[in-house]
């Protein structure tokens, strides 16, 4: 029977990696994920986790070491945040295009400058195109559950792609929450052993990472894209199986009072919990509002988004990252693009908020929704609005 413990989310992530019996952990400290790699170090030092713990000298080397370990067939895990994620940027593309099922927890952190250790999604948005499966999480239980799912999804022979689990830095990573930690035997049943089809092995020599001249590169990229898109089926199946075993079901997005709502708010990450309170308050006041919580970021859930918003008149997207000089909200841009060809679609309004760890209270969300309704009626000269910035 799974035990429910009060545990810091970072520590719980390390415990999840231990439950998954990872083989190799590449570790480099960066706020606010450091507790993850610290706890993993302690687990290894105490013999509670039999893994090779590689304290590398930078995040670039952390992901690189993961490449090597995964290529020989070892189950591999690492964690990073913000600048660290950026430093390993080029290596991320390698992991996905070379089809190495590395699992990484990212404690989303704002990007410098100015230096900020606090949470927002700018680091995640900067790696949209890297070809990883990416899942956002809302609370500690979701993080733990999805770290476990990540190994199973990544290593599935139909997928063999790396998976990023995004959790808000500090707002999730440092929270002590009540979390059900599954039993090791249950996890062993859920996650089969990792078998790369062509590992580096002298008994069957293969060459990984050849260079692609122009007449091959496009074909290689198409193969990669087809595979990432097809991974969605495996993700849905995995979440379904997880639900049957553990009682908690996950979906590409969660709808909260959205079926009949005229006005919808869309959030990602821990803001979703706060936003729910705002929705509750506003509905008690008779306002017809609802919430969409986006969980599956890559591969993008086109079908589910289009289905969820088709009856709404206004969709307000709250981005926790800013794409400078462009349409503003990265998530909003993608959603607008997904809806563009639909006959019936809501007006999509873009808000940016919560940057660099700035909090948004449930009252703040009410203000965003009200302002979003206003903009949908009067229009706006701006492409997007930044919420909560002192003028």
């Amino acid at each position: 029977m799974a035990k429910r413990v009060g545990i810091e989310v970072s520590i719980a992530i390390a415990e999840a990696a231990k439950l998954a019996n990872v083989d190799v952990v590449a570790s480099y400290p960066i706020t606010p994920q450091t507790h993850i790699v610290e706890h993993l170090a302690q687990l290894v030092a105490d013999g509670d986790l039999d893994a090779a713990y590689i304290p590398v000298e930078s995040e670039h080397s952390a992901m690189s070491a993961c490449l090597g370990a995964s290529a020989v067939g070892a189950r591999t895990f690492t964690a990073t945040a913000g600048q660290g994620l950026e430093l390993m940027h080029e290596v991320l593309y390698i992991a996905s295009s070379m089809r190495l099922p590395i699992v990484m927890a990212v404690a989303n952190r704002a990007l410098s400058a100015p230096l900020s250790v606090w949470g927002d999604h700018s680091d995640a948005m900067a790696v949209r195109d890297t070809g990883w499966i990416q899942i956002f999480t809302e609370n500690g239980q979701e993080v733990v559950d999805n770290v476990l799912c990540a190994f199973r999804i990544a290593e599935d022979q139909r997928v063999l792609l790396p998976v990023m689990i995004h959790l808000d830095g500090f707002h999730l990573s440092h929270m002590v929450e009540p979390i059900f930690l599954p039993e090791p035997a249950e996890v062993d049943k859920f996650i089969p052993p990792y078998q790369h089809p062509f590992p580096l092995n002298p008994d069957k020599p293969v060459t990984m990472g050849g260079f692609g001249p122009p007449d091959i590169y496009s074909e290689a990229k198409k193969a990669q894209e087809v595979n990432l898109t097809a991974a969605k089926e495996v993700i849905l199946q995995c979440w379904n199986d997880f639900g049957s075993l553990f009682g908690r079901y996950y979906h590409p997005l969660e709808c909260y009072h959205s079926q009949d709502a005229r006005v919808l708010l869309l959030t990602m990450g821990s803001f979703s919990e706060t936003a729910m309170t705002a929705i509750d308050t506003m509905r008690r006041e008779g306002k017809n509002v609802g919430l969409i919580k986006l969980r599956l970021w890559r591969p993008f859930p086109f079908k589910e988004i289009r289905q969820a918003v088709k009856n709404a008149e206004v969709l307000i997207v709250l981005d926790r990252a800013l794409s400078f000089g462009g349409p503003g909200g990265p998530v909003c841009s993608e959603i607008r693009s997904a809806l563009y060809n639909e006959d019936k679609k809501p007006k999509v309004i873009s808000f940016i908020g919560g940057l660099g760890g700035r909090d948004i209270t449930s009252v703040g969300f009410e203000e965003i929704i009200n302002r979003g309704i206003e903009i949908s009626q009067t229009g706006s000269e701006q492409e997007f609005e930044m919420f909560g910035v002192r003028e």
């Binding site: 062509f198 060459t207 050849g210 193969a223």
Partner: protein
């Protein structure tokens, strides 16, 4: 790979563009590159193998009698074997074609 490179479809590629046939590049005829070729005089060859050791292509082979000779399918005509041969059993001549 049986198809020429320019005709491979995305489905033909192995996962992650991994190449599973070791040494498959050995079908590439680097011998086309050369502008001069080595001529081996077996009467001077002492079968020491130094040409074999120093060939960057690794294309010098020992025939049934034990004399060394370059495999012209690969030989790029660098002339190292001629230069290093202790008994000067190898001379470089202009490639006719």
């Amino acid at each position: 790979m049986t198809k020429p490179e320019g005709m491979l479809t995305w489905k033909d590629l192995q996962i992650g563009s991994i190449v599973t046939e070791p040494g498959s590049a050995s079908q590439y005829q680097t011998g086309d590159w050369r502008s001069q070729r080595p001529i081996y005089d077996s009467s001077k060859c002492i079968k020491c193998g130094i040409c074999y050791i120093f060939c960057p292509e690794g294309c010098i082979e020992q025939n049934d009698e034990g004399y060394f000779e370059a495999n012209l399918f690969y030989c790029k005509g660098c002339g190292i074997c001629a230069r290093e041969c202790w008994t000067q059993a190898v001379t470089m001549v202009e490639e006719e074609e």
